[in-house]
């Protein structure tokens, strides 16, 4: 087995915080469903950004 690099160590730390249940749910979907979900999420994120901008403009 090759020696672990510092990159491996960082990646292993990140793995501890990733929700495996989300991955498992995604793997149940077709590829097309994964893309449609991603596009819907991106649209939601755009709407949140837009709402945030409007809210900041209203601030005194």
């Amino acid at each position: 087995m090759p020696p672990r690099s510092s990159l491996d160590e960082v990646v292993e730390v990140y793995k501890k915080d990733i929700d495996r249940t989300l991955i498992r749910e995604n793997l149940k979907l077709t590829v097309e469903e994964r893309f449609r979900n991603a596009m819907a999420l991106a649209q939601f994120a755009d709407e949140l950004r837009c709402a945030g901008r409007k809210a900041r403009k209203r601030e005194p």
Binding site: L7, I18, I23, R24, N26, V31, F35, A42
Partner: protein, 162 residues
């Protein structure tokens, strides 16, 4: 937001030889991470450059981040004279890559890439091992969390009942 569906269908209907890479490829393999653009590695023959330019022409491709009004026109010659292009289109951002670190060119990548059915078409996407290798080769700090998720996805495929 990038309209992955319309962009991918336009590319495949024009017969463009390309491979989906980056965040979109990660989505194809099950990533839950949000990506803002479509990254593709394209084949560099003259005929394919013509097809690529024609496929994107209806969507007003322009250099991302550049001042408006520059004399930029995406055609075969433009593509031939460059390699990697980060573009905006009316369908969202798209990155056209002549090669990627850790993977190489279209020709280097295509044999191990996988075919996926998507939006009524078939297109080619980096395999999960290729994607992991490319993320490792890039080694950018912002890629490390994505790399961790991709490796977990690989573990789920390898040990589906663990």
């Amino acid at each position: 937001m990038t309209a992955f569906d319309t962009l991918l269908v336009a590319l495949t209907r024009h017969g463009v030889a390309f491979i989906v890479v980056g965040g979109a490829a990660a989505i194809a393999h099950g990533s839950a991470r949000l990506t803002q653009d479509l990254d593709i590695v394209y084949e560099r023959s003259s005929a394919n450059l013509e097809r690529l330019a024609a496929a994107l022409a209806p969507f007003s491709p322009y250099l991302r981040g550049a001042a408006p009004g520059l004399p930029f026109f995406l055609d075969r010659m433009t593509l031939q004279n460059g390699l990697n292009f980060t573009l905006t289109t009316t369908l969202g951002p798209i990155d056209l890559l002549g090669e990627i670190p850790g993977g190489g060119t279209y020709t280097d990548l295509v044999h191990q890439a996988v075919e996926i059915e998507l939006f009524g078409t078939r297109c080619v996407c980096l395999s999960l091992p290729q994607l992991i290798q490319a993320k490792r080769a890039a080694g950018r700090p912002r890629d490390l969390e994505a790399l961790a998720e991709l490796e977990l996805i690989q573990e789920e495929y390898d040990n589906p009942h663990s």
